[in-house]
Symmetry: C2
DNA sequence: TAGATTGTTAATCGATTAACAATC
DNA sequence: TAGATTGTTAATCGATTAACAATC
């Protein structure tokens, strides 16, 4: 699991993408060296937490020097699995599917979008970002033949559960689920649920607090 | 802040939308009464946590009976601020803006979408869900005249910071930000950042773990 | 070498779980 | 009344912060 088998807490994992993001920013600004203290100021967390977090994976710094930004960025990318180059499909070619298909940061993070599927005759055959939308009836063969690993689910709620179970049977290892339902699958596959409504409700609460 | 001024921890707030979601489901299934124990099984959390969470707001149950689902659902909705009917605009009429504009759960959670803005001549005037896309040059007047409270930011990263600062000056109280940048504004307004890339990276990590 | 800053242990803080008296 | 289940206090667990020795 990591260099010394301490279990990495969920909260730490959740912070890794944010570190990755900030380190990427630093690189863009041509900053190649940073101390936990300087980084903590930028990110509004404690330096202690930063050092503690990195140490779950073995420590990437050097006493008296700090961290090499490029190296650290790269290591975190590796830990997150961004070098794996996962083969991905999008299921559901609505506006959201469209938005994700044209999402720039996608390929950059090692996700290779192979195909887009839909069941509506209006959409099948139309091009999205240079790719023709395929008929879901061809999906089983495509997924199996091409060894697809990740499915992005942007289809209507009613069909999600059933579609995902099938996809898992055909070999999909991870789901990025945007439908309202909380996906719970029989097979033990990775699921990341994106609940936009939850996020919106959190915003509503924050505004209400501010107005008190 | 709440019925006895204990500060509600951030983690509790984050769980409220999920409770709200599950309670809504129960109502759909015509279940009108539930114990913390039964709910805990469905939601895969401890009954203790559920009771503890609700008690930050004063306790909504009855000994020997449990919770009235409708009442509880309603109360959590109120706590979250879903009854406020916030006036909302979308800034950026790309695919993501489009997706959110047609998002069904939107109005249902008390957000009233008033207008959509873009700066591209290609998009201005086009209809989205029955609303003409407006020119951003009219945005200041529109926001001020109509007392808009929330702005959903689905515009390119490069323009986000500047646009958001202006909007805050014009009276916007909350931002739902989808751009890659982490919004930090001078004014003290509510910001909910949605980092789709972070979510995707978390998925990548989970898959990698599963494969180990 | 002296100064800086990490890696890591120890102390603190907060959140979760357990337990049970209150009460419907 | 007896049984059920909450509201709430106390115990436990885990995460964050502080401190400092190791070392570049």
């Amino acid at each position: 699991m990591n260099y010394n088998d301490r279990k990495v807490p969920e909260v730490v994992i959740k912070r890794l993408p944010r570190y990755y993001r900030y380190l990427g920013e630093l690189l863009k600004q041509d900053i190649h060296r940073i101390s936990s203290n300087a980084l903590s100021e930028k990110m509004k967390v404690t330096a202690s937490q930063i050092r503690q977090d990195f140490n779950y994976f073995g420590g990437f710094g050097q006493q008296g020097y700090g961290y090499n930004v490029e190296y650290l960025h790269n290591e975190i990318g590796t830990i997150l699995g961004l070098k794996e180059g996962y083969k991905t499909i999008i299921v559901g070619a609505g506006y959201l599917g469209h938005a994700l298909a044209t999402h720039e940061g996608f390929e950059r993070r090692g996700f290779h979008l192979c195909a887009i599927f839909d069941n509506s005759p209006d959409k099948i055959g139309k091009e999205i970002n240079g790719r023709a939308v395929r008929d879901v009836s061809e999906m089983e063969k495509y997924v199996k033949d091409n060894g697809i690993e990740i499915a992005i689910l942007t289809l209507p709620r009613a069909n999600v559960e059933e579609t995902a179970e099938k996809l898992a049977d055909w070999g999909i290892q991870g789901f990025w689920n945007f439908s309202y339902a909380e996906l719970k699958l029989k097979k033990d596959v990775a699921v990341e649920n994106v609940h936009l409504s939850d996020s919106l409700m959190t915003l509503a609460y924050k505004i209400k607090q501010g107005n008190d």
